[in-house]
Symmetry: C2
Subunit: 482 residues, 2 copies
Amino acid sequence: MSLKALDYETLNENVKNCQYAVRGELYLRASELQKEGKKIIFTNVGNPHALGQKPLTFPRQVVALCQAPFLLDNPNVGMIFPADAIARAKHYLSLTSGGLGAYSDSRGLPGVRKEVAEFIQRRDGYPSDPELIFLTDGASKGVMQILNCIIRNQKDGVILVPVPQYPLYSATISLLGGTLVPYYLEETDNWGLDVNNLRQSVAQARSQGITVRAMVIINPGNPTGQCLSEANLREILKFCCDERLVLLGDEVYQQNIYQDERPFISSKKVLMDMGAPLSKEVQLISFHTVSKGYWGECGQRGGYFEMTNIPPRTVEEIYKVASIALSPNVSAQIFMGLMVSPPKPGDISYDQFVRESKGILESLRRRARIMTDGFNSCKNVVCNFTEGAMYSFPQIKLPPKAIQAAKQAGKVPDVFYCLKLLEATGISTVPGSGFGQKEGVFHLRTTILPAEEEMPEIMESFKKFNDEFMSQYGDNFGYSRM
Amino acid sequence: MSLKALDYETLNENVKNCQYAVRGELYLRASELQKEGKKIIFTNVGNPHALGQKPLTFPRQVVALCQAPFLLDNPNVGMIFPADAIARAKHYLSLTSGGLGAYSDSRGLPGVRKEVAEFIQRRDGYPSDPELIFLTDGASKGVMQILNCIIRNQKDGVILVPVPQYPLYSATISLLGGTLVPYYLEETDNWGLDVNNLRQSVAQARSQGITVRAMVIINPGNPTGQCLSEANLREILKFCCDERLVLLGDEVYQQNIYQDERPFISSKKVLMDMGAPLSKEVQLISFHTVSKGYWGECGQRGGYFEMTNIPPRTVEEIYKVASIALSPNVSAQIFMGLMVSPPKPGDISYDQFVRESKGILESLRRRARIMTDGFNSCKNVVCNFTEGAMYSFPQIKLPPKAIQAAKQAGKVPDVFYCLKLLEATGISTVPGSGFGQKEGVFHLRTTILPAEEEMPEIMESFKKFNDEFMSQYGDNFGYSRM
């Protein structure tokens, strides 16, 4: 009997080949345990509101009014909404053509794209063109759109990404039938990047007949949490220019900075600072989102990308493809507008907005510290400090007996460890193998997002589990850090 | 000098090959004219709120409260929100894990999927399983996900669609590198479908080495507006069973029905009515949305698909791919919940909800009539009645001189006609060639969505333009209807 098109055996192989560990085996097991009534701490995905972070009040007021525009005619509206939220709701509604229920232009509302361009210009000190900014349903969707334009086949549409990397990239490259050319970050150098190694990766790929066409950086890093220095970014841009690579700059964590000596610098600014010919040569796409920062509005699905040095005919093609799905959701577009133009000093809501956003950011900074210190106090665990983003990525030095036990259970060693951790403590993490890591070295990724007051207990519970695990599987094995 | 990855010449060819006329040349020209200050009537896309349709009050109240959950603690909230909206907001918030700012499960909120399953069960009289329902950012995104699973290569992943068809399908098939096997609907038989012709299409494709894997129906039809009869649906399902095709049932217009003698019947119900073995054999995916019906909440981007007879391993793969983009936007998921469980008799908001929704639907029905009659009163224009959906698709019998003039201008004849119509009247339509049509026959698609009170003037303006066009290009040419 012949198979049908949606039988597993006949599915598109690229679909079957892609892996997305952030919602993979660990997440599925955690969901099962939750259904059975176990308390789960979901630190597998950077989802702040799910772990109790409160939304910022002002943007929620504005979007609520945009959803219910009839309230603007209600004489009592001033009793529950401040005047500046009412004014901003009117402003954003005036940018739509029919409110939140009407499709926008497929690139997003022109008025919001203008606000994004003004934000970029203030941030970088260089002009930004709204026509080169597209709004998207979250940054992931934008990344997928751009990779779809680049990747043509297995030998040709190929991307170089930092490893460990956020598996959006590996999964999308698989889905599109391209090949991932890995480049390893240096854990012992605080996840730094060495351009000589980059050149080796490209040379090796070429020797296999692979044309490297683009490079991805995640800055601040996910899962590794490092902020790239200006010097590093200059080297990367020079490298992209020499090798004629498009640079995809995933900068979704640009608000999440926890070390004053390592501020965020955008790829666009560094590129412009380098001047011609580079600043007119290197093709750069930069991504941002409303899901991260102190906003954490993941469920709204809002993002943008900005294109630099992309020819107009290509911009038209990207527009055409975006138009097939009609438009990004309009309420998230308004969140994006609010993120890039928050309340100003003197506005009624300014003080509250600053208090709320500072509160979140300062707490994240403290939590990054508690977590790093907590991991480093555990047996056979070493962990770089989280300079930025939302993750901690400790290395777990698994004893040979544990690796053996994992093999017997048919599991990758760090999956084995993370599953045991989940069953014992309810802490749902992602194994390092989901992000890529050097052979024989094991990690896990956890977010730094659990509520600050719960953090000591979580780290205590982790330490207890880890102690028991290490004593169960023995640790006098002369392991030296790789 | 070698090209870079985002230079036009080196882009993924599938991206360059796809066409999406709904936002193509006509739309771009209309946008330009609008910028220049001309009044444009955008009837190119089914976007009701952009043409003045007011959103339904109750769902907007509920979602506004969900966006601003702190209002639920405000003692004055009852002054501007009715009690049942407050209760429903609390209900939906309880289904999330952190409100609208938290990612949901990648399939959508389990609680909303349960409400969708209950709706389907009430509608069809057969059980529906929430685990086989995935929420999506609009129906288009769901269609793209499923086609991505089916299409493997140009010769193999191939879809049979009704022509004229909504170009989402042709564009996505191109983007995914598949081949479209057309099947023509019969205009003279009120856009009916003849299964013998279907068999011929499949046989012809096979003779070219193409494996037909799936079939798409749009019911009610877009752009053609017909509702498929139960007998027709049975034939189609039997055909899919014989040929082992997955049936994709695009049923986004199921609320938009304008003729009592032709009610909407779902593919799922007809399949279940047919009983075993068919009801256990045919692979069916049905799509729905919050963008159409009397909701018209296009900008929210909410939809779902239900899977029937799809093996569990395939469902897992579809889940995995959905998880790469994390989750559909949560506020549209709540719109979907509200759409499938609207206020009930006895609820405070019930009367208003019924008044609003009936008002919209009855007006659409009148507008469908005004438009069909208007087109049929014009020289060289014939038009089937819009039984359902939101479109009118008149045939324009272009005189040879007009076809000649179009050729000289380097335009497809119906593009030429629609551009002239746009320049003269501001009415922005989509040429029939964007949907596919038989050789030598020309159409345009317009929505029936302009405000009812403006409809007579629009049809008057169309008639005046058409009269002038037909007299300019001569019409005593002995044209007989094809």
